[in-house]
């Protein structure tokens, strides 16, 4: 795991001091509110509905047990005893007090963490495949590149006042678990005909009120050109991006208005201008970073205990069937710990749960933890013989929910319960859907199904790429939920299609139930997933189930 250099350490400490000073300069009037706001945001501090919110970066989703313990301590000391894992590999504390923020930032710096550029019109926390370094299908661990990008983007002098926020995701696997096509820049590792590793560079993706999938701006970028090329994209965007309308300021609109061909030409020309500025120091640093991400020393031991536990304990077996993914080492598994217990807030973990996760990662997981954009916690390296003990440890802390990838493993934004931008609640909708299908005992029969819920058009809950997407809107002061179907965030990314009129708060769960029951009647076999059935039949039969004739009459 990457460990801060003296330079990183001094940088983060200096930044804490700077922001502390900026808070006092706001209070003494040196900075106006308009001047202070971007400084506050680029240090991760939001003003929410009820209080400040501090968003802490978890670069490329990777945490050590020591860092997880520190997050738990912060939740306990400065918040209400919990933290919220977000859809971009951050953790949010919803109740910090402004005077205590410098102390929180110092506590984070003590464990090599920060909240820098988790908000504002900056290059945000660079996200990566949460199975990085463990996945069986991986070409190369993408995290060294994400760390290089973290350093390059940190306080980059040109890009602290961009037209709008800028999100970068990187994956090292052909199976895209990082939703690269929905990012401003998506980097997908490829091997060319000569066997060399490089990136397919995707630009111009983004969800929000105008969802767009990125396009391939460079089919193969040699890894040594990464920083110069990404900087060229940012440089062109900083010049062209609109500043007259924040809803048209993301690079997806710049691409749309400029044209793919023209923007590609401009980026290539800018790249030629910038490339000579990089003299190789970044590659030397990359080599050091790569060494820091060397895989752990995997253990050779019998896995018979795992098979025995599977056949003996049906609860363990159900959990293992849903929550494990193949590891590149045959004796190991990747464990996804669900932070989606039925009826709980998706992504909320208590301080006690965080401490437990840290302890279990130290005991059974080579001291490695990941946060996924799907708001779960991953233990990427667990020897199969340890799975039963790990499961027992998770159970005691309410962390053994066997629902990963299933209907109750819902992504939901904070919605109107916390967020000042929200137009509807999203957390209670997620809770009610999870409880309803748990009561019906249908979850495992339904199989893989991704529901994603956003409480406003900004789409933090990624509803456009949910197999079932739910968007909460405000219609004349009343919550109304619009449904999209067929969205997909994988390497075959698709924006979902709207079904039609929205549903009231008390009608949205029954509406979802009608869609899912229709699927169960329509699928050809138990192993045809919801998405496959939808792709085979299209939206029509689901619309018919969603809007039965009498409901249409009511609406008219």
């Amino acid at each position: 795991m990457y460990s801060y250099s003296d330079f990183d350490e001094a940088f983060v400490r200096n930044r804490v001091a700077q922001f502390t000073d900026q808070i006092s300069r706001r209070l003494d009037g040196s900075l106006t509110e308009d001047e202070f706001r971007p400084l506050r945001l680029m240090n991760g501090l939001y003003l929410q509905l009820h209080a400040y919110m501090l968003r802490v970066a978890i670069p490329y989703g990777t945490l050590s047990p020591r860092q997880m313990h520190a997050l738990a301590d912060i939740a306990q000391t400065y918040d209400k005893g919990y933290g919220h894992f977000t859809t971009r590999q951050n953790i949010q504390f919803n109740w910090p007090k402004l005077p205590e923020v410098p102390a929180i930032l110092s506590a984070l710096a003590d464990v090599e963490m920060h909240a820098i550029q988790t908000s504002g019109n900056t290059v945000r926390n660079v996200t990566a495949d949460h199975f990085a370094g463990a996945a069986a299908d991986e070409i190369e661990d993408p995290r060294p590149y994400a760390e290089l990008l973290r350093q390059w983007s940190s306080d980059h002098p040109e890009f602290q006042f961009l037209p709008r926020k800028f999100k970068i995701a990187v994956t090292g696997s052909p199976n895209d678990r990082a939703v690269t096509r929905a990012h401003d820049i998506g980097l997908r590792m490829q091997r060319n005909a000569a066997g060399e590793v490089g990136f397919e560079v995707i630009a111009g993706g983004g969800l929000g009120r105008t969802p767009m999938l990125g396009f391939v701006i460079r089919p193969f970028l040699p890894v040594e050109d990464l920083l110069a090329y990404v900087e060229a994209v940012l440089s062109v965007y900083n010049t062209l991006g609109r500043r007259d309308n924040k809803y048209k300021a993301r690079i997806k609109i710049t691409v749309h208005e400029t044209g793919r061909e023209e923007i590609t030409r401009m980026v290539e020309a800018r790249f030629a201008e910038i490339k000579p500025q990089f003299g190789g120091a970044d590659q030397a640093l990359l080599a050091d970073i790569r060494a820091a991400f060397a895989p752990p020393k995997f253990r050779t031991a019998p896995t018979i205990g795992y098979e025995a536990a599977r056949s003996k304990d049906p609860i363990f077996r159900a959990w293992a069937d849903t929550n494990l993914a193949p590891h590149r080492h045959p004796d190991y598994a990747i464990v996804t710990v669900s932070i989606k217990a039925h009826g709980q807030t998706p992504g909320d973990a208590t301080a006690a749960q965080m401490h437990r996760l840290a302890d279990l990662a130290a005991a059974y997981g080579h001291s490695d933890l990941r946060i996924s954009h799907e708001q779960n916690v991953i233990l990427p390296h667990v020897h199969k013989s340890d799975l039963a003990a790990l499961h027992a440890g998770l159970s005691e802390a309410g962390l053994a929910t066997a629902n990963v990838g299933l209907i109750s493993d819902i992504i939901a934004c904070p919605g109107m319960d916390y967020c000042a931008l929200a137009t509807a609640r999203s957390i209670p909708v997620a809770q009610d859907i999870a409880l309803r299908f748990d009561a019906l005992k249908l979850e495992h029969d339904i199989g893989p199904l991704k529901i994603k819920i956003s409480g406003c058009i900004n789409a933090c809950g990624h509803h456009h790429i949910g197999h079932i997407g739910i968007l909460g809107l405000d219609r004349a002061g009343v919550e109304s939920y619009q449904i999209t179907l067929g969205g997909d965030g994988s390497q075959d990314a698709v924006i979902g299609e709207k079904t039609g009129p929205g549903f009231a708060y008390d009608q949205i769960v029954p509406a979802i139930e009608r869609i899912v029951l229709a699927y169960l009647g329509l699928r050809l076999a138990q192993d045809e997933t919801f998405l496959q059935t939808y792709q085979r039949l299209g939206i029509a039969p689901f619309k018919a189930a969603l809007y039965p004739p009498e409901a249409v009459d009511d609406a008219a």
Binding site: F7, Q18, S30, L148, D155, E158, E273, Q277
Partner: protein, 134 residues
């Protein structure tokens, strides 16, 4: 009234005969660029220009930083000046992007006195870019 900020603190603004891009053919050594101007238009004149001043219309508009970096990449070796709505917190960004000095209105200097700018005169410290670009 304006003031010039450098690593040494506040000073008077030297009067230079600035012209805009539309009059660049008859320039007398000093060019004014808007944040929306393309530096390519100034390319044939770069070697003769002693000073280029780039406008910052609002604190939130970062186009001038990229413009400065591009002018340096295109070979401009004269004085680069940032002018307008710039706060002390952006001084290091301006210096790192290739600016030599910052011209601010008196009202800004009153609100953010010299010591707040001098606090950022150490812009070469804690700079990831200088490590990565070597």
């Amino acid at each position: 009234m304006s003031l010039l900020v450098t690593d040494q603190g506040f000073g008077p603004v030297p009067a230079l005969p600035f012209v805009g891009l539309d009059q660049i053919a008859s320039h007398r050594g000093a060019l004014d660029l808007a944040q929306t101007d393309a530096p390519e238009a100034a390319l044939p004149y770069l070697a003769d220009l002693a000073c280029i001043r780039i406008a910052f219309p609002s604190v939130a508009d970062g186009r001038g930083f990229t413009l400065a970096r591009r002018l340096r990449a295109l070979g401009f070796a004269g004085t680069l000046r940032a002018q307008g709505a710039i706060i002390a917190d952006q001084y290091a960004m301006a210096r790192r992007s290739g600016f030599d000095e910052v011209e601010i209105p008196q009202a800004m200097a009153d609100r953010q006195p010299q010591e707040q700018w001098l606090a950022r005169a150490n812009w070469q410290a804690h700079d990831y870019q200088s490590r990565l670009r070597a």
